[in-house]
């Protein structure tokens, strides 16, 4: 079994293929700037919101839209990861119940972030082509370990982004997703016997760390 590098998701294998060069460059730029987790947490604001909300959105900072699009790419990845994993039938019982809810959360985040980007006047990025390393879903433990690593990277990278979001409203919404990702990370850690509370304050990733983590995602 391929050991998972602690600082890399999916053992450092590239899992994302981004067809459009513009999207790809935007993703790389944001990855260096804000980190992987940014995506996991920066979006997801629109869940359940009324469409009337669109009317009040007048303008948005370009940088915030870039961050949200970066977020969207990562939410696509997460949602696809769980959907693929669940189809393998590796888990059941309580674990299945928990992972199903996490998968639903991520799927909602995709919908939410796409809608938000649109409402802010931006163009949502397309779903990337995603290819997970063959042994990602080899067995239950591989699946859960990959999920745990992924969620932890997301959380820590997000906290490197907090200071970069310009709109207070987008920030508040991003935080409301960040908390959910923290819950995911804690529960997954508990499921694999890891550390559910790795620090009293969520850690942040430096730019260098983030770059190291993100590059392998891009094919």
């Amino acid at each position: 079994m391929r050991p998972f590098n602690k600082n890399r998701v999916f053992g450092g294998e590239p899992v994302l293929g981004i067809a459009h060069e513009t999207d790809r460059r935007a993703f790389l730029r944001m990855a260096g700037l804000v980190g992987v987790g940014a995506g996991l947490v920066a979006g997801g604001l629109m869940t359940g919101a009324s469409s009337a909300a669109a009317a009040v959105v007048q303008s948005a900072d370009k940088g915030d839209i870039d961050i949200l699009n970066f977020a969207l790419t990562l939410e696509f990845l997460e949602a696809d990861f769980y959907a693929t994993g669940l189809k393998k039938g590796l888990i059941n019982g309580r674990e299945l119940e928990l992972i199903t809810e996490i998968a639903d959360n991520e799927s909602s985040h995709v919908t939410s972030v796409r809608a938000l980007v649109k409402q802010l006047g931006g163009t949502p990025v397309n779903k990337p082509t995603i290819k997970f390393p063959a042994d990602t879903f080899k067995d239950k433990l591989s699946f859960l370990k990959a999920a745990s690593t992924f969620e932890e990277v997301g959380v820590t990278a997000y906290h490197g982004q907090v200071g970069l979001i310009k709109s207070g409203d987008v920030l508040g919404a991003a935080a409301s997703i960040a908390g959910v990702e923290s819950r995911h990370a804690a529960v997954l850690a508990a499921l694999i016997g890891g550390n559910a509370f790795p620090a009293p304050i969520e850690k942040r990733r430096s730019k260098n760390e983030v770059a190291t983590i993100v590059k392998p995602f891009l094919s």
């Binding site: 009040v56 996490i102 939410s112 907090v162 508040g172 959910v180 009293p200 304050i201 850690k203």
Partner: protein, 260 residues
């Protein structure tokens, strides 16, 4: 409304209704007058952290938990103690006076495992709601960042406690696709049963818990403290986090040592 001025005024071109509608987030419902400056937000958070830390200090002594559960609850206690120290240190660096520990009364929360964990879950989820509801008032980005970091850890605690209680994934361990903010008044109402002798009973001159008497004054003076500390506050909070593991700070309210 001072509300839009969340981050050094950079959000002033965004309609406050954006938060209410587009973000499905009741951020905008919090009153602008809830907090006049960062120190007030931090003291509000500090009071909650005092409450939480003392809760676990007493509970971990009074309630026998199994190995893994006991380990989780001790880690949580250590985290809360760390938060108390971090917040108090930061308030001092900002030139403010940290709130004192409130007097507490936990009733039958430690009667058995289930009561302990159930009350714990309430505290953690209220903590999550409180940080999210108050974060919009923080003007200093360094402080905001650290507050977000604490918020995330409270969410971890809440999820794990839900897991230990065997609650449903949906609505128990996880509480939706997004976390929900609460206004100061809502948070105070939620923790009121645990404050002995009424709100603000800690005897501090800084009244953190104005029971039933929310500020109605304007929040227009909120900018003046932040410029001084812009370069240092993030560092303070981060440094506080680093020493948190030492957990040398004791939160026992004076004159209210163990009564078990």
């Amino acid at each position: 409304m001072n509300h839009q001025d969340l981050i050094k005024g950079q959000a002033t071109d965004v309609s406050p209704r954006l938060a209410l509608g587009a973000l499905n987030n009741r951020w905008a419902m919090a009153k602008a007058a809830d907090f006049a400056n960062d120190v007030e937000v931090l003291n509000f958070a500090l009071t909650l952290e005092f409450l939480e830390a003392e809760f676990y200090r007493q509970g971990n002594k009074a309630v026998q938990l199994s190995g893994i559960e006991g380990k989780f609850l001790k880690q949580i206690q250590s985290d809360e103690e760390s938060h108390v120290k971090t917040l108090a240190d930061t308030i001092k660096k900002l030139g403010g006076t940290p709130a004192e520990a409130p007097k507490v009364e936990f009733g039958d929360a430690f009667e058995n495992r289930k009561n302990f964990l159930t009350t714990s879950r309430t505290f953690e989820n209220v903590g999550v709601n409180a940080y999210l509801g108050a974060a919009g008032f923080l003007k200093d980005k360094g402080i905001l960042q650290a507050a977000a970091g604490i918020f995330g850890v409270e969410a971890r605690h809440a999820a794990i406690i839900g897991l230990l209680l065997g609650l449903p994934a949906k609505g128990g361990v996880f509480v939706g696709d997004v976390e929900t903010p609460k206004s100061k008044d809502e948070v105070l109402a939620a923790v009121a049963p645990f404050l002995a002798g009424g709100a603000g009973a800690g005897g501090t001159e800084t009244v953190i818990i104005p029971a039933g008497a929310p500020d109605t004054g304007a929040g227009g003076e909120a900018k003046d403290t932040t410029g001084l500390v812009q370069a240092t506050t993030g560092g303070v909070l981060v440094a506080g986090a680093a020493v948190a593991l030492i957990a040398r700070h004791r939160m026992a309210p004076r004159g209210e040592e163990d009564d078990d």
